[in-house]
Structures are given as C-alpha cells and as structure tokens.
Symmetry: C2
Subunit: 275 residues, 2 copies
C-alpha cells in the first residue's frame, strides 16, 4: 500500500501545541502547492513534563487521528515527541514517511560548522533528553555541543514580545549562561518550535560570524527532498489548503497561533477534536 501516491493528499504536521505552526509556516512557504492538516494536542500540553511512555502514547493517538485525514507524509514538529517517539511513530505510520525536527536541525548545523561548537537553545525538557547532542555527535564526532535551557523564551514568544529591550536582555542572559572561557558557539540551533519568532534578536546578539540554524527551515527542506524523491509533490496548479485541528482551547490556539503561523486566525479556523 502506498497511500502517498496521490499527490494532492495533505502533509500532516503534529505538535503538542501551537509552536509547530512555525514549522508548518516554513514548509508551506517552501511548498505552496501542498495541502496541510495540522494537529495541536493542546489539551495535554506540555509534553515535556510527561513520562516517555505517556509522550509516546499521546503521539501515537494524535498521529492516528492524522491518518484519518489520509496524510502522505508526517512531520513531528514537537521536539519532545521527536526525541522520544520517532521510532514508534515511524513503525505505526509505515509506509508513510515520518520525520522529526531534531535530525534536520542537527544535519544543518554539522554541515554549516564541521567540527565546530554548537549551542542548542531549547526547553528544559528537550535539553534533558539530549537528543540534539546525540544527533550531532553521531554525524560529527569532532563536534562540541552544549545545550542551554531557555524556558523564558517560550513565554516571550507566546506573549508576542519578540523584539525590544526585554527580549534582548533575556537572550543575552541565556547566552552568557551558556558560553564560558572554553566554549564559544559557532552555531546556534533554535531547538524549540517557538524560537524562530526570536530569530532576529538571537542573530543580532551573537553577530554575523555565528550560524543560526532554524530547525523549521531545515525540516521544510527535508520534506521537499523526500516528496521530490518519492514523486509525492503536489502538482503546481494546486492551490494548497490548510486544516487546523486542536484538542482544546480554539480561541487561544487562534490568538497565539496566528503569530506563529504568520497570518491572523480566528477560533472558527480551528476544529476541536477528541483523541
């Protein structure tokens, strides 16, 4: 069975909340002809504080819901679910391709700065899982990786305070915490789906010599490669559409999510589903 040979079928994007909309935005921008269905498991966020067994179970339920929409490819836009449940999801979804955000980010960082020093800015939960460190080291044993929890940047992005002095001071403080005499970052990996909103502030703080790797953008490039290779790209005459699903809180999803997607949303754009 090759479900994805119908090229007009949607790409599924799954996250624990609204953060994955930055990933969706990057993929839509790279592939404007595609249809998309996005599911944010807002009723059970944050995944980061849950046990690995719970995260895997939630992710399996969420992606089973996306299967009902006949998706041709699945993007796990949640760093925590990518780190914990990618193998299980690939097994459940086969032969549909499944990719996470960690591996594309690690690949791009290593390509940009071989043998270099990488600073992963992420949530506490992602840092604890050390998924970026493992993915980078397996690609480049010479690489030097440090992971910095930056919890406040999540609320900063959700609040929409993505520029100005407060954002600058908070970014500066996290960089100061991460960098030491013997560790100076040559690449910064935005290891949380919220952080592309803070890309400009972070880039300005580290200066031009440091590569800023946006996992959303690198994941979009991998999606294009996979669909190009398996002949699954939507035809160019197609005007791509978007369906948004959430498990709770449609109006908050619309309000905060609109900033992440880069276009205004209303609660009516969001369909509530039960898992």
């Amino acid at each position: 069975m090759t479900v994805y040979n119908n090229t007009a079928l949607p790409i599924g994007v799954f996250d624990s909340g609204v953060g994955g909309l930055t990933v969706l935005k990057a993929i839509r921008s790279a592939l404007p002809n595609e249809n998309f269905v996005y599911l944010g498991d807002t009723a059970r966020l944050p995944y980061g504080t849950k046990s690995p067994a719970s995260i895997e179970r939630y992710a399996m339920q969420a992606t089973a819901k996306l299967l009902e929409h006949d998706i041709k490819l699945l993007v796990v836009a949640c760093n925590t679910a990518s780190a914990v449940a990618l193998d299980a999801l690939q097994a459940q979804m086969a032969p549909i391709p499944v990719l996470g955000v960690v591996e594309p980010g690690a690949t791009a960082a290593v390509a940009a700065r071989p043998g270099g020093s990488h600073l992963v800015m992420a949530t506490e939960a992602t840092v604890r899982l050390q998924a970026y460190s493992k993915a980078i080291s397996s690609r480049d044993p010479e690489a030097n990786v440090r992971e910095q929890p930056c919890e406040l940047l999540v609320s900063l992005a959700e609040e929409g305070w993505t520029n100005g002095d407060i954002a600058k001071s908070i970014v500066r403080r996290y960089l100061d915490e991460a960098e030491t005499e013997d560790f100076k970052a040559e690449s910064i990996i935005l290891g949380c789906t919220h952080f592309p909103l803070l890309r400009d502030v972070i880039a300005a703080a580290v200066g031009d010599a440091v590569e800023v790797v946006d996992s959303a953008v690198t994941t979009a490039a991998v999606v294009r490669d996979i669909l190009t290779e398996n002949g699954g790209l939507a035809p160019e005459q197609l005007q791509g559409g978007l369906k948004l699903l959430a498990t709770d809180g449609a109006s908050r999803f619309a309000r905060v999510g609109g900033q992440f997607l880069g276009e205004p949303l209303t609660a009516e754009d969001v369909q509530l589903v039960d898992l």
Copy 2:
C-alpha cells in the same frame, strides 16, 4: 463525624504544581506547630488550559488522595481550581473546612482600599475566569477592578530571576499595559501562586502608596482564624512536619519548588503518587 477534632492531624494543601508552595510557606510561617501534606498534580499541569469539567475532576481526585492522609482542613492553593471547583470540593470534603486563595485575597484588598481600584495580576487562565472581579464586586460594589494577564512572570519565577533589570522591565511593562488615564491601581493583588516571589520587584515598581495584597499571606490568616474558631489548632508543643506529594517529576519539583518553599529540597523529599 468531625475528622478535624484531632488537632495533630495535618492541613492539606493542593495545587496543580509547585506554585502552591508559596501558600504553604505562608501558612507554615503563621502556624509552625501544624503538620502539612502538600499535593502538586504536576502530571496534569497546567490546569488553566483545561476545561472546567476536567479541572473539577482532577481537583476531586487530588483531594480524595489528601483525604487518605486524614487532613483536618484543605487549602486549594491553585487559583484556577479555586475559581472553578471550590463548591464541588466543599461538598466532597464536608465537614472538613475547604478554602481557596481567591476569597481571602479579595477580602484583604477590599479591606485595604474600600471603594478603591484594584489591579489583579494573574495568569491568562485566572483572568479569563474573572474570579477575583466577581469576589471583589460581591464584597464592594463600589470597587473598580482590572485583571491583567502576566504570563511571563510565571516563567520568571520558575527560572528564579526574581530581581534585577529583567524582572523590573517585565513588571513595568505589564503595569503600563494595565494602567490607563482612567485606571490607576490603589491595590495590586498577586493573583497567582508564583507571584509572591516577585513581590519586592512589584512593590518597588508601584511605590509605597499602593497596597500589595499577597493571597498566600491572607489565606494563611484565614486558616489560622478557622482553626482557632473550631478548636483545631495544633498544640504549641508540637513540632510541625511536612509531607510533599507530586504526580510526576520529583526532581524538577524539588529544584523549582525549593525556591517557592524557601528551603532547599531534594527529589527524595518528594513522594510520587498516582491519582
């Protein structure tokens, strides 16, 4: 049945996470002879994004667990659960007295500034429920109330950045958003269990003329009043003890919670329970 006639029985304190430890700290400081059992439902936080039906169900399960510890009084230290589920919990726990944090905070604000203008600083979820506005208006129909969501202050407190320029700037920005030509706060209500950690920064920002009402402190005073009245106060020769329960993440509970409780904790101090 009057379970609470054994004065050495513990006081139960319930919250969705670690924030309620500020309330526990205030009660312990007011009543050092008491025994306490604290339950943080960390597996299911945050309550604020859940539906009222779910919040009530979670709160009922959590407090049923506290009943197993033979508590003589229950404090609902979670603003969201106080706003949504207090009546249901009082029915479930009768004849054990149950109190939330909203009512004591509202009472203290009204007493301090009769007919005045009150600014409630709280989470988005608490603001949406308008519990403080209702509680204040029912006590003082002349009062003027504004509720300001201050989501970033939660992560600021959890990060431990409770003083310095970043904290000052964020507090200033929220105050500027809340105050207008025709609304100048005469009292500030700390309407989130995390905010007592930011009390000094907030008090400095508003100046001495503004009363800062700490719900934790006012709740502690009400606990003392209830136990004095019903003869439930622990005897003075008792050296009060403390049992900490959580539904997930003992080490994060200990690390972040230690700041809230005002004394260092280790993961071994926290017992994991299933609800």
